[in-house]
Symmetry: C2
Subunit: 793 residues, 2 copies
């Protein structure tokens, strides 16, 4: 297309504004049609109740404003040849996005059945928010979306994630004024302190001040103008206001403002890039104040609808016949017959307003990130393995992992498609080695004394917000890049709901052939429940695993590597994987190492295994199975085994370790699950199993509910203990070696009285322990310096 | 004490400032001592390694600033006779609060063993962050605290909760500049839109701008002054800045600023109260910029400590002998010998600086809310019961509940100790009747068209933030009042971590005799997973129950009333209870009613029961048990039972309903649990149990893992379905009547071929269902209008 032919590149004309208004009417018509119409999509016949859906479900209030923004984005994209994606914060009102992607053609490309003609329009209307149809939100099913909404609050965080390392991308984020009241959204305005104007793209927030949420007004719409302005200035933004309700006046204001802000963004980027000046600029944003339910029914049954909270969902319910007239009037007010031709196709004068090809918001590949995904270049993790004398060597698993990750940074320097995320905890979580190669990202003021802070760091740990870590990372992954989130295990619960929503997103994507797989969402949960020496009860919570376990089996994975070599192997596996939510629980404290790299690879690949070198039931049925999952439980089980083998040399003990937690579940329920036969081969059908687990014991109960062998005693976290020694935490939760030995003996009735003395010995040890720590504040020497051994022959 | 004698009431003098500085030194000394000293508390002997704790765990950086604030609060309390509580946002650095409550005497009153003498000081030092001692955070163990911190972000929300309906209370909230970056904290500044200057008290936020968090600088400390100022103005606050590092200058500035802000608060209140003008004022706040680790070690091993992130935890580790000298120098710099007498008691000139009695921050009864708790006046819930023709009557449980709650408002008008909380959802959750009596609280701009908004509303649903609902409610409860939080079931997951922290708080309080019981934290989870017609997959998540189930058994309770009368009974029970976290899952849609009020009371009191009127195994062993828990599962089980009884009249069916979910767990694990005998009497030892459960099936698995009868097939939410009909949601998750019947038959091998035709019939029904909804968008007539019946004889 010739630039000179393109209306958008001309000075703003009345003709252009009128076309835009017509396009907007078309979008509004299609959005309303989706809510109501089963048939008669172009209203060619007189509207009757038979044309109306029996159950009308969906949202209207937010729609016209979002349609308005869409048409203005279209113009800006064409005028400035922009690479832009659009995030709809509210998410509900997904009919707006379907309408617009349908108008521009991107919808029908993905769903040919919803063709750009009257038949397709009818199907589009019917399917919306309808059984066997499509969701009412900006769900994965909707092309162009990377932010479903539903759970409100993440639009700005997702938008920032999308533009990191995408210098030419603009992510326009429509923020609901209700959404803006959520915690995650409120802090996300600060994300501009982490954006580099040279190497990152731009986020253009549009606060959608339609005045209401479900049934209350919004705070931002009910504070003085100068407070709104101060607020955004205080957050480092330059707000532009577009306010009003007369469509044509508003089109003009909005178009002019879009030009201003896009030019400002371009100027900021040009200046930064030409002068190699990464200092934080003040980025522009828009505050768009329009009536909720704009252009919809004004008054229904004597109550104001347009411009009120009553416009939020369905502005007109269809139980009374007068409402049919109101609906007709409303739908006819858009004059669809002027906008669509006799085949129900958008007329060419309007169709040409949409950008073409990948420039369309519904077709931008960044919003289907798998299309852009490049594999990471990965070092061979085996080379980072450490030499191990089992149960004697000590190492800090997270430190070892840091070395491997440092080299991922090195290898992907050019591709710029890997970042790590954390709430001010990368050091505390001991990823020390990554700082040898990379800095933390920081675009607020820098001081000479600052440590590893830089304008272009790839370690995103400068903001104390789990919500931002998660939201940025999700945005980064959804646009086709790689990363992980390392968190204190307890505080990952802050983003329970975000992780669940992402898992849901992935589950749906798995059913959509046109959505290409994206890199997995990887969590490293460290500073875990057993490693909270500086902190207390508030910092103990292993329940994220339980949470993840409830999500759809084809999406979630959990790994609990017992040592550094296993951690390396698990991490390598996760960072290569696609479309999963992976949770890895890792140790950061100096702790016992068990497996050589070669053994670790075998063990982790199988996910569960008998540690034959620690067992003494070779070739026989064991008397008891001592099993563990997690670093600390493994240590205690191994220590318990040394005691049992020393004290009861005839006892046949099998030692089992679980890395891949879903191995415990049946293969009917999870693709990683062992079959019942495989399971019985490891755990036996009926021998006692003493199982020491990292988290809540109930998680093992639920995973193994349907297994044959219920002769299992699970030890885990019991919500006991606060600041105390590491070993005492275990004692208080009865996952320590002494309690494990006691429990083992109590599960071996055949020992009869032989076990009693060992039980007494264990009880004495527990008293000794308690007295010692109360006096010295640290664990007994024999605990601190414990080493694995097998009984002398 | 005579006012004229009180130094605080005189114009600020150098003498006063010097005394305050000395008091501050004492607090700093005691805080550092707690970190390091096992013995030699007054440094009367030369300091040796033997006097030092083996493992030094705790925080220093935040402490001196918080001590500084404390001494200035003390002065303000005395000068203006204030009723004040103090919330420490960061929470870590709890040694500051112990030091100060010890100095003022409130600590020793609660813990006489930690006496105000050298022996007590030694014990106080040793116990801190020590095994068998006290936590390092502002935990429940610390008098004066209602905000433990640990998980950062809730100080302002808690503070607002505390001052609602406490017109004479000032809650001073120290906000960490790192904490300020969290989502919950960021949005909590907006809470001033919900404060009534006549009937509520005041919150005085002090942003503690010490520049750093764990190892990064903070955003607020690295943006220009005018951005900070704009930010707070934009949030509706008037910020006062106190910045510097010279102690004496800073004392002067701070004292003057405290006077200014307290006088401003008083003036605002006076004006509002005298003129009966509840309009939102601009409340003052303080931005206090001081060095992190102020007065601590300056440089250690060549690295800057004071004024840097390195001061965060332990500023001096004790592995090298030079560090012993540094520690000595540091501790001696406070000149404890000038501050404490020969018995180790604070000298009288300083002791007199502390407020007296309940005015002390460590003794203010609002911070031990149970002391102030008044029982609610409750109507007789039985009077709100509805007449029920079982399985024929329909009602909306939440609407019925609303009537009862409306009257709670009525009865407690004078006591002003009941509020309800929700994120813009009270209408959506159908608490319609409450609006007959009460309004929503709103102190931003009001319009004529506004609906049920008022300056003094007690329905706190004007802010779209689950974090605020939860935080405000917690603050309200912790200060001795009552309330509940009604939420969409899915989005309650947003506050998973907050609910867990509160449960942990309660667990610890249960062990502290001086902490009086407070009203329970009540959740009503409605708009539940089975009732999401306007929304989709994102709005489905019944996992909060799983989350709660992992908390300490003596603190948590879960109720799933099957109908309105049961909901009334459960709610009544919960709202009267103390020290629990109660989760009630409730239905808001028109749905079948089962029990008369009389039956409901019996059923809910027992928590589980056989519905003999629906069963046909009277006096015999049943062939099968059909059990349910939750409104929708109960409907489907009852419908399945009608099919089974019609089609297989000889089958002996027992119908069981569970309201109190913990009945399923063993009485060894939960106080509500049934004994194994009781359980077997209901579920039999081995007969098949088809169990339809509201949530994830695994929760039933984990609760019943240790029961005898594992012949149980649990149906529940399987993460399937998005927008569709209500019945189709059940079909997709196989919890519908047809799938239940199929499963029942497959669990009755004795039926042999007799069952095959019924299975075929059910399969046909499922196809018919699917075809119907795909065409009409609503459920089959026979589903919509289903009614319970027993077979005709
Ligand atoms: C976190 C969260 N809490 C509650 C809801 C329930 N809810 C759905 S829509 C809505 C109001 C949204 O208001 P706003 O963001 O202003 O969107 P708009 O006015 O554009 O519809 C609420 C509270 C939700 N979706 N997410
Ligand atoms: C929600 C949450 N995320 C992470 C942490 C880990 N953490 C502990 S202290 C801290 C820094 C706190 O900084 P700030 O609020 O400025 O407190 P101060 O400087 O006064 O210590 C962090 C990130 C936490 N406690 N809570
Ligand atoms: Mg809105
Ligand atoms: Mg700080």
């Amino acid at each position: 297309m010739q630039d000179t032919m393109c209306l958008e590149k001309q000075p703003l004309s009345q003709e252009m504004l009128e076309k835009m208004n017509a396009y907007w009417r078309a979008a509004n018509y299609l959005s309303a049609g989706q809510l109501y119409l089963l048939d008669n999509p172009m209203l060619r016949e007189p509207l009757t109740m038979d044309h109306i859906k029996k159950k009308i479900v969906g949202h209207w209030g937010t729609v016209p404003g979002q349609n308005f923004i869409y048409v203005h984005c279209n113009r800006a994209i064409k005028r400035y040849d922009l690479d832009m994606i659009l995030l709809s914060g509210p998410g509900h009102g997904g009919n707006f996005l379907i309408a617009n992607t349908y108008l521009e053609g991107s919808y029908s490309e993905v769903y040919p059945n919803i063709s750009q003609d009257e038949d397709g329009m009818k199907k589009m209307f019917k399917q919306f928010s309808f059984p066997c149809g499509v969701p009412s939100h900006c769900a994965p099913e909707t092309p162009g979306s990377i932010n479903e909404g539903g759970e409100l609050g993440y639009s700005i965080a997702h938008a920032f994630g999308a533009v990191f390392d995408n210098p030419d991308l603009i992510a326009t984020a429509i923020v609901g004024d209700g959404e803006a009241e959520t915690g995650p959204l409120a802090t996300s305005w600060q994300s501009n302190k982490f954006l580099n104007p040279i190497t990152d793209g731009a986020v253009l927030p549009i606060l959608h001040l339609n005045g209401y949420k479900i049934s209350n007004p919004t705070i931002f719409s009910r504070i003085p103008h100068d407070e709104i302005e101060s607020f955004f200035k205080g957050c480092g933004w330059k707000p532009y206001f577009v306010e009003g309700d007369d469509p044509m006046t508003m089109h003009k204001k909005m178009a002019e403002t879009m030009d201003t802000v896009i030019e400002e963004i371009k100027a900021i980027q040009k200046n930064a890039r030409e002068n190699n000046n990464p200092e934080r600029p003040v980025w522009p944003m828009i505050v768009l104040r329009t009536p909720k339910g704009w252009t919809g029914p004004k008054v229904v049954d004597g109550l104001q609808i347009e411009g009120s909270f009553r416009a939020h969902q369905v502005p007109l319910t269809m139980e009374s016949p007068e409402h049919l007239d109101l609906l007709k009037e409303w739908l006819e007010s858009y004059h669809a017959e002027e906008l669509f031709d006799e085949h129900g196709r958008l007329i060419p004068e309007l169709a040409e307003l949409a950008p073409k090809g990948d420039a369309r918001l519904g077709a931008n590949p960044h919003a289907n990130g798998g299309l852009l995904l490049k594999d990471l270049r990965l070092p061979d993790f085996r080379e980072y393995g450490i030499d191990v004398d089992p149960g004697k060597t000590k190492a800090q698993d997270m430190i070892e992992l840091g070395g491997y990750i440092r080299d991922i940074f090195k290898l992907n320097k050019e591709n710029k498609n890997f970042r790590i995320f954390g709430p001010d905890e990368s050091m505390s979580n001991r990823l020390y080695h990554v700082f040898e190669e990379e800095n933390r990202d920081w675009n607020a003021e820098l001081l000479d004394t600052d440590d590893c802070l830089a304008r272009n760091g790839r370690i995103m740990d400068g903001m104390l917000s789990e919500h931002m870590c998660e939201g940025w990372l999700e945005g980064y992954l959804l646009t086709g890049r790689h990363g992980f989130f390392a968190s204190y295990e307890a505080f990952i619960r802050i983003v329970d709901s975000m992780a669940a929503q992402h898992a849901k997103w992935l589950k749906v994507c798995n059913q959509l052939s046109w959505r290409q797989p994206i890199a997995s969402l990887n969590f490293i949960l460290t500073s875990n429940v057993w490693q909270q020496d500086h902190n207390g009860f508030t910092h103990q919570d292993p329940g994220f695993l339980d949470h993840i376990a409830n999500k759809k089996a084809d999406v979630v994975r959990m790994y609990l590597p017992p040592d550094a070599n296993c951690l390396l192997s698990c991490f390598d596996h996760c960072i290569k994987s696609k479309n999963y939510v992976n949770a890895i629980v890792a140790s950061k404290h100096p702790s016992c190492q068990w497996l050589s790299m070669e053994q670790a690879v075998k063990h982790c690949t199988q996910g569960i295994g008998i540690w034959e070198w620690a067992s003494n039931d070779y070739g026989q049925e064991p008397d008891i199975v001592m099993a563990s999952c997690g670093d600390t439980p493994t240590l205690e089980v191994m220590a318990a085994v040394t005691i049992l083998r020393d004290e009861m040399p005839d006892l046949k003990i099998r030692v089992v370790n679980v890395v891949d937690l879903f191995k415990m579940q049946s293969d009917h329920k999870h693709p990683h699950g062992l079959s019942d036969n495989e399971y019985d081969a490891i755990f036996t059908k009926d021998k006692p199993v003493i199982f020491a687990f990292h988290g809540y014991p109930t998680l093992i109960h639920e995973l193994t509910f349907e297994r044959n062998n219920h002769n299992m005693s699970v030890h885990g976290y019991l919500e006991e203990g606060t600041i105390t020694t590491p070993f005492d935490m275990r004692v208080q939760n009865q996952i320590d070696r002494f309690n494990l030995v006691k429990d083992a003996i109590m599960h071996l009735p055949q020992l009869g009285n032989k076990g009693s003395f060992l039980i007494q010995k264990m009880n004495n040890k527990l008293v000794e322990h308690r007295q010692y720590i109360a006096e010295y504040g640290q664990d007994l020497e024999e605990i601190r310096n414990w080493e694995w051994h097998t009984p002398e022959k």
